[in-house]
Structures are given as structure tokens and as C-alpha cells.
């Protein structure tokens, strides 16, 4: 386990370096002079000159990369031009919000997806299976923004049960926080639940037709035990991988959901930063997202390692 971990950790360093070059390089490909974008409507030439100097925009690319990277290594991701706040502070402020949203979405997706997947596999070719499939198709083909607005109109405007948008910290008001997050989490988790459902279903079907399940049944085990203890555990291996990798995707998916529900999270931060050419924010956020992605990959590998004994032998 130790050697495996070390090997995987060593791979992370060059990956992160490559990612940092890529982020910085891609950002430079964005058309439009950031100083002009930042200088506001007046675009005073004096201000533009000042901004170029302040953000080293007048220096050659390698020098600018060096400025940024040396800051990153020291833990300084720079400062947002738009609101003059350190990027690290912004990230620390927004990340918990997005993590909560993505986690809730994932829980909703797992709850709906795995349950529906198991039921539709066990009750294959019955009306329950068809209903689950219809649900999966619906989830996949419903656009986030449409579903989001529809839910807002129903639950906030017509019924008045939930707030239309916004965010409340769980430390201030837990009930308010859950009320504000349930709709966005459902919207975000809904599409993913369908993907999980399809995967769980096919994995379960495969496992249910295998010899050891037949043996378990032959031993006279309770069907519930066969399914939940013997079949589901094995069927969950590919689902775990998918879940871990898709958590990164969910983080990406928050961009749209956060915009619809006005949730001050990571996704909204990055969209605004790109449009305002707030370079330090874009670079910091993308670097962090990439790091999270890499970390999740690592965690998935470790989870494999723990769930699947064969990997330990290798």
C-alpha cells in the first residue's frame, strides 16, 4: 500500500506542473486585452498603463509565468482585480459552498440512481424496470437551466415553500441552508442519477448472472442478502469509480446551476472571472479544480485498492 501510494503521489508532481503550464498558456490564448477589459467603461489610457504594469502584462510570457508560479508555490494565488480580494480568500469562501452543493447533489444522485438501478435490475422487464428507464431518459435529456427555472416557479413563486435562489451559510441557519440548497442539488444531481442508474443496472445484471450468486442462492440464502450483500458490493466497484470521477464533473456542472440559483460558489466565481478577464482568479480556480480532480483520481485508485483484493497482489 505504501509503495503504491508513493508511486501515485510522485506522478502528481509532473502532472500538476504540466497543468499549470497549460492553464497559464490557455489563458494567454483568450482574446482581448485584459487591461482594456479591466479598465471599465471609461478606459482611461493612464489606468490601462497602470493595470498592465501592476499585473505584469507588459512583461514577456515566461517572466509572467514565473511571477505566477513563484506566488503559487508560496501559497499566494494573487489578487482579484475586480474586487481586490486575495484569490486564496475567494477560493476559501466559495469552495465550501460548491463542495456542499456537489456533495448534496452526489448524495441525491446516489440515492436515486443506485436504488433505481438495483430495482430495475432485480425486477428486469417488469413495469418497475421500464419506469426506471423512462426516469433515466428523462433525467439525461432535461436541461439544467430549464428544470431549475421550472422548480423555482413551482416551489418558490407558486407554492412559496422554498427560497427562489441565494445561499445561507449552514452555520448561520442550517434549515435555511438546506432549504436554499435542495433545489439546486436536485437539479445538479438529477442528470447524474440517471447515469448512475444505467451503470448500476448493467453492473447488477452482470453480477446477478454470475456463478457465485447462483451458489449463494443454492445455499438457500435470503434473496435480500444475496442482492444487498453479495451482488451489490461487487456491482458497486465500477459505480464507485464513476462516482469519484464524476464528482469532478459535478463540480464543473455547478457553473450553470450556481448561475441559475445565484449561489455564490466556485462555478459562478470562474464564469465571472473569465468574462472580466480576472486572470489571477481564473488561474487560481482552474489550478485548484485540476488539483481536486487529480486528488479524486487518487482517492478512486485507493478505493479500488481497498475494495478489490486482487489489486493488492499486483
Amino acid at each position: 500500500m505504501g509503495r503504491f501510494l508513493l508511486r501515485r503521489l510522485a506522478q502528481i508532481v509532473p502532472t500538476l506542473f504540466f497543468v499549470s503550464v497549460l492553464i497559464f498558456g490557455l489563458q494567454q490564448l483568450l482574446p482581448g486585452d485584459p487591461a482594456i477589459a479591466m479598465a471599465g467603461e471609461e478606459r482611461d489610457p493612464e489606468t490601462i498603463r497602470y493595470l498592465r504594469e501592476k499585473f505584469h502584462l507588459d512583461e514577456p510570457l515566461p517572466a509572467r509565468y514565473w511571477h505566477w508560479l513563484s506566488g503559487v508555490v508560496r501559497g499566494d494565488l494573487g489578487e482579484s482585480v475586480r474586487i481586490q480580494k486575495p484569490v486564496t480568500d475567494l477560493i476559501l469562501e466559495k469552495l465550501p459552498v460548491t463542495l456542499q452543493l456537489a456533495t448534496m447533489a452526489m448524495l441525491i444522485a446516489l440515492l436515486i440512481g443506485v436504488t433505481a438501478g438495483v430495482i430495475s435490475a432485480v425486477k428486469k422487464d417488469t413495469w418497475l424496470d421500464y419506469a426506471a428507464n423512462v426516469f433515466a431518459l428523462w433525467g439525461l435529456s432535461t436541461p439544467n437551466f430549464w428544470l431549475g427555472i421550472l422548480l423555482i416557479l413551482l416551489f418558490a413563486v407558486n407554492l412559496g415553500w422554498l427560497p427562489a435562489s441565494g445561499y445561507v451559510s449552514p452555520f448561520e441557519d442550517l434549515k435555511g441552508n438546506l432549504a436554499a440548497m435542495i433545489m439546486p442539488a436536485f437539479v445538479l444531481g438529477n442528470a447524474f442519477a440517471s447515469v448512475l442508474m444505467r451503470h448500476t443496472r448493467s453492473a447488477m445484471l452482470q453480477v446477478l448472472s454470475s456463478d457465485y450468486v447462483r451458489t449463494a442462492r443454492a445455499k438457500g440464502l435470503n434473496e435480500r442478502v444475496v442482492i444487498l450483500k453479495h451482488a451489490l458490493r461487487n456491482a458497486l466497484v465500477p459505480v464507485i469509480t464513476l462516482g469519484a470521477l464524476s464528482f469532478g464533473e459535478l463540480l464543473g456542472g455547478t457553473v450553470l446551476t450556481e448561475t441559475i440559483f445565484s449561489i455564490p460558489g466556485f462555478g459562478k466565481l470562474i464564469v465571472d472571472a473569465v468574462f472580466n478577464r480576472d486572470y489571477s482568479v481564473v488561474q487560481g480556480v482552474v489550478l485548484l479544480t485540476a488539483t481536486v480532480y487529480i486528488a479524486l483520481n487518487l482517492l478512486a485508485d485507493i478505493a479500488y485498492f481497498l475494495v478489490n483484493p486482487r489489486m493488492r497482489v499486483e
Binding site: 482581448g32 482611461d44 489606468t47 497602470y50 466559495k94 423555482i152 468574462f275
Partner: protein, 498 residues
């Protein structure tokens, strides 16, 4: 007894809830430092936070706010301002002539200041006595008063500004009706009533919370569900639906800015390579091919006033001798024939906002009737600005948020080599007229000069002005005291929840 307690708790909580005014903004403001600030939406927050030397009324008249009166010198090169007595900043510091001098110099000299250009004609500031300040100008500049009704006229606490340096915008200290409490980027800006405000009788809320909600539908949903009391920039398409709901009211103001099509007439060589940039007759034909009323109807759901100048026809500065031309396709065709290009082709650079896209599509279809082949080039906004700045475009759908004095809509765009002169329009005689209009303190004389400027600019068409948008506000019907000032800012003074 228990019921009475409950009732009391309910009564207290509903009173407490009522004393917060919740405003929905269409964007997240930028930095809250009047010297550095750049966005329109930021000015809405400043209206609650920072008082200015002067303010505007509903008819765009300049009225005193922190100042009580002003006097121009005989040569119009010095402006003496008397200040209100007993005004304090949110940190308790006194607002006096020294503070005003400090602020104007900060606006002018601070690195990264966005007010430098607006205050360029101010050469120095003298403290005459503790309540009188004199602004000495390098040349007469009549629009200065209007400039002081905006961020350049906002005063911040010198002590707090010195202590915070560049970070002042993170916790601004001004002298407005509400003081800064907290800001969570992209979520909320919270202000608390300042008990020492000089005009506290006009303030009827304890708190103001500004919430940016980008999506107009969601913003409206928040109003309808009772989470907000007021929203700015209601979508034109939502007006009809909301009108029938008696719980809400809609307020409508014609903006001081404009929406137009800027044409590259001399910004780069590209101007000469295209018949639209090269020949004023082709531009006239293009204008004649457009039906502004139809554009407003289709692209803006009717929520705009058509116009053909840098100020709207409702403005007292509008040049009446040059009214909005009617669509005339026959005349347009004839002009193109005379110019020798019956089927000119050009590219219309269009920012990716839905308004701009719709305008471009309607314009494209209309101009086709006269023989124009308009190609729409959708370009993300920051990129489009960059291309315009380099002159790498032929025509450009561009809006301007507007300034209270017509000079702010004119000089930066039509003066040779001015920073916002994307058209590359340059005529020494127009420059001379603009300079003279800036020195003309007499309104009739100034109007005459504007007439002459319009005779050139409206006919040369470096910008084809299309319309002036409506600021659409929607609010709880119980909210009263709303003042519809054409600058589109929400004045909190006088607002009351009945």
C-alpha cells in the same frame, strides 16, 4: 399569555423584517471604492453608501447634496463650493473642505484611478475656509458640476482611506445614509443605517441588502416569492405578465445612455477599404434602411425610446432641427446607386449579449431590403472592445451607459483621438466646437454649439444612434417614495415600506 407572547414575537419579527430593504441587482458590482470603481451596477450600491457633492433630480437638474451652493468665477476657470455643515463620515470624522480637497486629489492622483479623466480639467484644489473649497481649472469646463454628481463627487473618509490604502474598497467608509457592513462576493452587500447621517429623516430602513442575481427570470422569481422588495433591469418580456399582478409595480425611465452602431470611419486602414467607412452616402443609406421603431419593438420588446443623437429626444439638449429620420428604402437605394455601390457588404461586430444579437439580426434583415449585405460577427464583449480599439472592425453594435451632462456622451467619442473614439472620427472644426461647448456657461449659447456639432456628427454618422433603453424597475407595491432619475440609480432617501 403564551398566545400574547407569540403574537408579540411575530409582530416584532415582522417589523424587523420590514426594516430591511432587499434590492436585486443584475450584476455583481466591482470594487466599492469610488476612485477605482468602474461598473454601472456599483453606482447603485454607492447611492446608498456614499453621498456626493451634488446629485441629479428627475429632470436631470443638478441639486446640492454634500454641497449647499456653488459659484463659478467670472472667467469660468474656478468653481467655489460651499459645504454642508455638520456632516460626518461613517467613522465619525468630519467632512470639511480639507476632506474634499483630499478626495479630489485622491481621485486625480491615486494609481489606477478611474476618475482621473473626468477630473482632468481640475488643476488644483484650495481650502478657502473649513466649509468652502475652490476648484481651479486649467480651462473652463462647464460639465464639471455633472461630473461631481457621480463617483468623482463622492467623498470618502480621509483617515480610513489613508489607513486602508489600495484595499479601501474592501470596507469603504463614506458619508451616505448607510454604512458598509459586509460583502460576500457574488452573494450580497449589506449596509446598515448610519445614525449620524445629515438627512436621517429621509431614511426609513435599518438595512439595505443588495443581492446580485444575473438571470432576469430568477431575479423576478425572487421578487414574486417575496425574497426581494425591488429589482432593477426587469426583462422587457416580463412587463406584460407583471402588470396584471397588483402586488407589484413597474417603474420605467429613459436612460441617459444610448444604443448605437459605431462605424469605423478612420480608426484604421480598414475604414478606407469598406464603402461604409469610406463614403458618408453609404452610411446615410444604411441609416435610411433602418426602421428604429421596429428594431425597438422586436429587439427590446418595445422598451426603449428611438433616437438619433447622443441624447434622447426627451432631453433638453436634443437638437430638434435634426429629428429621427423615417425609414426610406427607395432613397437608400438611390444613395447607394449614386455612391456606385448598389450592394455594399460589411461585417457587423456584435457582442454576444442577447440584446445586441437581436439588434444585429433585425438590422441585417432591414438593411438587406436596401441592398446591403450585412454579415454578423458575434464576438465576446471584452474581445470586441479590443478589436474596436485596434480598429479591426467595420461596424460595431455598442452601447454607452451615459453621463448626466451631454458632454459625457459626446467628447470621448467624437473628439480626435479621444480614448473611446472607436470610430476614428476626427474633424478639427468639431473638436473646436466641443471645446467651446465645454466652456459655455450660458445654456442658450451651449445649445447653439451643440446644434453646430450635431450638424456635423449626425450627418457624418461615425455612430448611428438607434435608441435609448428604458430602465425597468419592478418592486413591491407597498414600497413608496421611489425617485425615477434618468441615471438609473436607486436613491434610498425617501423609500418607505407602507
Amino acid at each position: 399569555m403564551r398566545w400574547f407572547g407569540l403574537f408579540l414575537a411575530f409582530a416584532v419579527s415582522s417589523v424587523a423584517a420590514q426594516s430591511t430593504l432587499r434590492i436585486g441587482l443584475a450584476e455583481d458590482p466591482d470594487i466599492l471604492d469610488p476612485t477605482m470603481a468602474r461598473t454601472f451596477v456599483g453606482r447603485i450600491v454607492f447611492a446608498g453608501l456614499c453621498d456626493k457633492l451634488f446629485d441629479l433630480d428627475e429632470k436631470l437638474n443638478i441639486v446640492p447634496q454634500l454641497a449647499t451652493s456653488y459659484k463659478w468665477s467670472a472667467d469660468n476657470k474656478a468653481l467655489e463650493i460651499k459645504l454642508r455643515n455638520g456632516v460626518t463620515f461613517h467613522d465619525g470624522e468630519k467632512l470639511d473642505a480639507a476632506a474634499v480637497k483630499y478626495n479630489l486629489e485622491r481621485h486625480k492622483n491615486m494609481k489606477g484611478s478611474n476618475r482621473r479623466g473626468e477630473l482632468a480639467p481640475v488643476a488644483s484644489v484650495d481650502v478657502v475656509d473649513p466649509l468652502t473649497v475652490r476648484l481651479n481649472l486649467s480651462a473652463p469646463f462647464v460639465p464639471l458640476l455633472a461630473v461631481l454628481t457621480d463617483r468623482a463627487g463622492m467623498m470618502v473618509s480621509p483617515k480610513a482611506a489613508e489607513a486602508a490604502g489600495e484595499k479601501f474598497g474592501a470596507a469603504p467608509v463614506c458619508s451616505g445614509p448607510f454604512r458598509f457592513v459586509e460583502r460576500v462576493a457574488q452573494d450580497r452587500i449589506v449596509l446598515q443605517r448610519y445614525p449620524g447621517y445629515w438627512n436621517k429623516g429621509a431614511i426609513h430602513f435599518d438595512r439595505v441588502v443588495y443581492t446580485p442575481i444575473v438571470d432576469a427570470t430568477v431575479r423576478l422569481a425572487n421578487l414574486r416569492s417575496g425574497q426581494l422588495d425591488f429589482i432593477e433591469r426587469l426583462a422587457g418580456s416580463d412587463v406584460a405578465g407583471l402588470k396584471s399582478d397588483s402586488r407589484f409595480k413597474i417603474a420605467r425611465i429613459v436612460e441617459i445612455g444610448y444604443q448605437g452602431i459605431t462605424i469605423n470611419v478612420g480608426k484604421s486602414d480598414e475604414a478606407q477599404q469598406n464603402p461604409l467607412g469610406k463614403d458618408a452616402r453609404v452610411r446615410e443609406a444604411f441609416e435610411l434602411s433602418l426602421d428604429r421603431n421596429a428594431i425597438v419593438k422586436v429587439a427590446m420588446d418595445g422598451e426603449a425610446q428611438v433616437g438619433n443623437q447622443w441624447v434622447s429626444p426627451a432631453s433638453s439638449w436634443y437638437v430638434k432641427s435634426l429629428p429621427v429620420p423615417k425609414r426610406n428604402v427607395e432613397r437608400a437605394k438611390q444613395l447607394l446607386k449614386e455612391a456606385g455601390v448598389p450592394n455594399p457588404s460589411f461585417t457587423l461586430m456584435t457582442p454576444t449579449t442577447s440584446d445586441a444579437q437581436r439588434i444585429a439580426q433585425v438590422v441585417q434583415a432591414m438593411a438587406k431590403d436596401a441592398g446591403f449585405d450585412v454579415k454578423i460577427q458575434s464576438t465576446e464583449f471584452a474581445t470586441s472592445l479590443n478589436l474596436a480599439d485596434k480598429g479591426q472592425y467595420q461596424a460595431y453594435v455598442l452601447a454607452w451607459s451615459g453621463r448626466a451632462d451631454p458632454d459625457g456622451n459626446l467628447q470621448s467619442f467624437h473628439f480626435c483621438k479621444a480614448p473611446l473614439n472607436y470610430a476614428g472620427y476626427c474633424k478639427p472644426e468639431v473638436d473646436d466646437l466641443i471645446n467651446r461647448s465645454r466652456a459655455a456657461a450660458d445654456k442658450a449659447q451651449r445649445q447653439k454649439l451643440f446644434d453646430q456639432i450635431a450638424a456635423d456628427v449626425v450627418r457624418d454618422r461615425p455612430v448611428i444612434y438607434l435608441f435609448h433603453r428604458h430602465w425597468l424597475w419592478a418592486h413591491n407595491a407597498k414600497l413608496s417614495g421611489l425617485r425615477t432619475v434618468p441615471d438609473g440609480l436607486v436613491r434610498v432617501q425617501g423609500l418607505k415600506m407602507n
